[in-house]
């Protein structure tokens, strides 16, 4: 690739990201002068860069955007939310064009039209002498206003949209109607806005609690007929308008009629994943069948095994393909974090810079969906408890603004989310004292913990109590909520902290959540599954190498002494004594622990169903897996058993 283009791809995307951050700040405060300045520079530089290539439509669009920012910078025309939204649509489009340049070295044929459409949004934003209130009652006007307001949703859509404006009858509450429920029933909503019926919300004293004074305007990806059906009971209160997508044109010209994009309800993918899980269980049932056949007809057994292998390969490919479809970038799930960070810091009189890297990483949808909550909690916690106040920071020679970084990286089948702050760090001594004071651990046990293990005490339920939870990070839940949320995703939490320097939380999560690799282990007469994610290694050592230490056992592994627990004893079973000890090495509370088993069985790929009912309360059980022969394998949680 041309060196110039290569550099442009790198730099252009950085500028888009910078502009995006600035616009996010402007969405929070459209008058933020520093953000306007920075956004202006990003757009200006981008404009200069695209001018080096055959990207005239992009150049013109960026020029229009730059104009708006320039006027805002001079105070001639302050920005408003609509202008910020239109600028964002412009930036998003530039980002897509950069992708096009990378793929085919040129802009798609419709670029000119797209540029004009978005530029129209930019100029449509009421920058000139901002009128106080729009005139929502002009029938044609509501559509134009809506298109500007929802510009980014429209730009992202790749199919026609249906817009509606629903003006509920003021007395509708008395008939038992809830306009919000009505709108909730509209399928495939992509945007919703609730506006005051008179152009401005009534003042507190003028409000009548049971009179409806709202208008609901929205966009749905469903067809006009489908949207109309949702309003069947209110036909006289709704107006509709079809909205042609900006994107549909682009998609169609790109695809040459073949590989078209498809919007699929994620529930359908979930159903496919479930079906695939059942298929894998069914395939596993061939193993005992082959074993039975082996006793009568070796050739038949061999054929069954080879058939099984080819079905397994096909299912494996299906699994990979399906996993890939379910892969979504993390970025959308994180979009709210920067703003929440700013708000949280503001409310505490602190200042913070949050940098997010690696958010383009793709992970299973379930992981992306499940990650927001624990990250939000860690972030609030870092700002509230991690970062010092500006005065304290100055006193110890740190920057006034705290800095928090959130990064994502992939390592094999694992995604690692790391949140680090440059705050005061966590003092393991104080953690020990608090845990003792809360009755979570005895004085002796606390003293025996390494500092690394002591830090993990903050993850215990009951460690944070109402007294220590402030309004911000508290909300009635402690760090144990993070631990629980991550455990639900079959992940682990690691904590590192240096007093005075900061704290780093790492969440290790499986990138693919559909099936789990299990190792079957034998303990006495029973067989259990253990997740290979939790097994660092399996080793076989001479029984003579086990050493009694204190009241228990230990073994030496690569010059390190690690504690050894007997799984049979933990499960109240009678183990089998043999000449060798078979060990599973796992990690519990940051320490390596060996668990002794009687034998290793096969490795299987299967769907682990979460523990329910009685099992849910059983210590050390993650869930169960259905085996091919119809029997149920309990899946153990090694770290929990070893703790």
């Amino acid at each position: 690739m041309d060196e110039l283009l290569e550099q442009f791809l790198i730099e252009g995307r950085e500028l888009v990201a910078q502009g995006g951050n600035d616009l996010a700040a402007l969405a929070h405060d459209p008058q933020d002068a520093a953000a306007i300045d920075s956004a202006f520079r990003a757009f200006h530089t981008l404009k200069g860069s695209v001018a080096l290539f055959a990207m005239q439509p992009a150049e013109r669009l960026l020029h229009a955007a730059e104009d708006i920012l320039e006027r805002a910078r001079k105070g001639a025309n302050p920005l408003d939310g609509d202008a910020v939204t239109a600028l964002l649509a412009c930036l998003d489009q530039t980002d897509r064009w950069i992708d096009d340049m990378e793929r085919q070295g040129a802009l798609p044929g419709d670029a000119q039209g797209v540029s004009e459409r978005i530029a129209a949004l930019l100029t449509a934003t009421p920058c000139e002498d901002t009128p106080a209130a729009p005139t929502p009652d002009d029938p044609a006007d509501w559509i134009a206003t809506l298109m500007v307001r929802e510009a980014s949703a429209i730009a992202q859509a790749n199919a026609p949209l249906t817009a509606f404006r629903y003006t509920p009858d003021p007395a509708c509450f008395f008939r038992g109607e809830d306009p919000l429920s009505v709108v909730e029933a509209v399928p495939d909503m992509v945007a919703l806005a609730i506006l005051p019926v008179d152009g401005a919300w009534p003042a507190s004293k003028a409000i009548e609690a049971f009179s409806c004074f709202s208008i609901l305007e929205g966009l749905s990806a469903a067809s006009l007929d489908v949207v109309r059906a949702a309003f069947r009971l209110q036909p006289d209160q709704v107006q509709f308008a079809p909205i042609a997508p900006v994107e549909a044109v682009r998609q169609a010209s790109e695809s040459h009629g073949e590989s078209r994009m498809l919007r699929v309800d994620s529930a359908r993918l979930d159903a496919m994943a479930d079906g695939l899980g059942d298929l894998i269980v069914a395939i596993n049932s061939l193993t005992p069948l082959a074993d039975t056949a082996q006793q009568q007809d070796r050739a038949l057994a061999l054929t069954i095994r080879s058939v099984q292998a080819s079905i397994e390969r096909a299912a494996g490919k299906l699994h990979r393909d399906l996993s890939a479809v379910r892969m979504v970038p993390l970025a959308p799930a994180l979009r709210r974090l920067p703003r929440i960070a700013r708000e949280t810091a503001d409310s505490l009189g602190k200042a913070v810079t949050l940098t997010i890297t690696g958010e383009t990483l793709e992970v299973d949808k379930q992981i992306a969906d499940g990650l927001f909550e624990p990250l939000l909690h860690l972030l609030r916690n870092a700002i509230d408890h991690g970062l010092e106040t500006p005065d304290q920071r100055r006193a110890v020679g740190k920057d006034r603004d705290g800095s928090i970084s959130l990064s994502f990286q992939r390592s094999g089948d694992t995604v690692i989310a790391t949140l680090s702050d440059d705050g005061a760090g966590i003092d393991p001594h104080r953690v020990r004292q608090t845990a003792i004071a809360r009755g979570l651990i005895t004085q002796e046990a606390a003293a025996a913990l390494s500092d690394a293990a002591a830090l993990r005490l903050i993850l215990l339920p009951g460690f944070s109590t109402a007294a220590t939870l402030t309004e911000v990070s508290g909300r009635g839940v402690g760090m144990d909520a993070v631990q629980a949320a991550v455990a639900r995703l079959r992940g682990t939490v690691e904590i590192e902290s240096i007093i005075g320097k900061g704290t780093r939380f790492s969440l290790h999560l499986p990138a693919n959540a559909l099936t789990t690799r299990l190792l079957v282990v034998e303990v006495g007469p029973e067989r259990y599954g253990v997740s290979l994610d939790q097994v660092l290694e399996t080793v076989r050592v001479d029984r003579a190498a086990l050493m009694p230490v204190g009241g228990g056992l230990a073994c030496v592994l690569r010059d390190r002494t690690i504690p050894l627990l007997d799984l049979a004893a933990l499960l109240h079973l009678r183990g089998v004594e043999g000449p060798y000890a078979k060990l599973l090495i796992t990690q519990s509370s940051g320490e390596r622990v060996a668990l002794r088993v009687d034998g290793f069985g096969e490795r299987i790929d299967t769907v682990v169903r979460p523990a329910t009912g009685v099992l849910a309360s059983a210590r050390g059980v993650i869930g169960s897996a259905l085996l091919g022969d119809g029997s149920v394998l309990l899946v153990l949680d090694l770290p929990e058993l070893a703790s």
Binding site: A27, H28, D29, D80, F173, I194, P196, W201, A209
Partner: protein
Amino acid sequence: MSVRIDGRTILLEGRCSVEDAETLLLALQEQPDASVSVEKVQKIHMAVLQILLALKPEIMGADASLFLSQNIFRSLIWNSDTGAKSF
């Protein structure tokens, strides 16, 4: 009862039905600078929501319902961010 007052915070919880609109309105008229926590909201009636939109109290918490958090509360927070300054 889905509206609970805890000091300077008004907590909305569970299914906020139409009657809750009056309770919320009175509470916000009494304490105009109170915050409203929506963390435990499962469903909110239009009557209750429009009080929040009109009076723009500080909204705390991300609620449990996906529809509400994606379509309602996000824009609510957005509006109260910009609304307070441009009016």
